[in-house]
């Protein structure tokens, strides 16, 4: 047998598969599956909590009442636009004229 043939023969002959590898693989797969499920449920929980908080804050914005100063300003503008303040203005100018 030539040295080259011996080389290929030696290349083909391989030490046996180490024992107990399948159990290790199965354990690792289970661990990976648990981590995967845990991370998915964690992500889902985080998304749900975020969605809840965002909804809450939006609801608060919609239901909150404006500040009194702002209400007064809006009232003045509304009266000006509707012409409701005209009578009051005329009376005030009349008062100044009398003086």
């Amino acid at each position: 047998m030539s040295s080259e043939d011996l080389f290929y023969k030696e290349l083909a002959s391989c030490p046996g598969l180490p024992q107990g590898q399948f159990d290790i693989i199965r354990k690792k797969i289970r661990r990976k599956t648990v981590i995967k499920r845990f991370s998915i449920s964690g992500t889902l929980t985080a998304v749900l909590i975020s969605a809840f908080l965002i909804t809450q804050s939006l609801w608060r914005v919609n239901t909150s009442s404006p500040q009194p100063e702002l209400v007064a300003e809006i009232q003045i503008i509304q009266e000006y636009l509707n012409g409701e303040d005209l009578e009051e203005q005329i009376q005030m100018y009349a008062f100044f004229d009398e003086q």
Partner: protein, 181 residues
């Protein structure tokens, strides 16, 4: 390499534990030999064998049957070794059974293993893969091409040169003569 029967394969894809065990029993020896011959390190080869089958388990549902299952599993093993190699840059080939063969009393056996060790240590990781896949496991060039993404023609040329290099290596040095003497 003969493929596992399609019934067991389908069961394994559906998540049957026993079928996956059968799949492991069928393919692990081939995967083990490939990885061990590519890496030359028993500890690393054991880790990569585990890594390969974890990947196989995770990707089973993605197997479409475009290639044979053995080619598909070979590709995963090949990629695992290459990824580990790129990460660690371990180019040095170490025969895992050097310690065992040193203790071996049979001189011829020792010399044969020493011979294989010396020649393998000079080859690149891809060359070792090509040698094992083609010369030992008898994969076709088309199958090897599917695994490593190199054209069959290039692989054919590369193997021819590789075998020539090995032949020259034996003739240049006295390793071969010593081994067979």
């Amino acid at each position: 390499m003969e493929d596992l029967d399609s019934g067991t394969l389908k069961k394994a894809i559906k998540g049957d534990d026993k079928a996956f065990r059968a799949l492991y029993d069928h393919y692990a020896p081939f995967v083990w030999r490939l990885i061990l011959r590519m890496t030359g390190e028993q500890q690393l080869a054991t880790e990569l064998l585990q890594d390969t089958f974890i990947r196989v388990h995770g990707a089973l549902r993605k197997f479409k049957g475009d290639s044979s299952f053995s080619t598909w599993i070979y590709r995963i093993a090949h990629n695992s070794v290459l990824m580990s190699y790129r990460k660690n840059r371990k180019a040095k080939f170490h025969d895992p059974f050097e310690d065992q063969i040193t203790a071996c009393s049979h001189a011829d056996l020792y010399q044969n293993k020493q011979l294989a060790h010396i020649v393998l240590s000079d080859l690149t990781i891809e060359d070792r893969f090509l040698l094992v896949a083609r010369e030992i496991d008898g994969l076709s060039f088309d199958e090897i091409s599917q695994i490593c993404g190199i054209s069959a023609g290039t692989l054919r040329t590369r193997l021819h040169r590789l075998k020539e290099t090995i032949r020259n290596r034996f003739s240049e040095t006295s390793i071969g003569k010593e081994a067979v003497a």
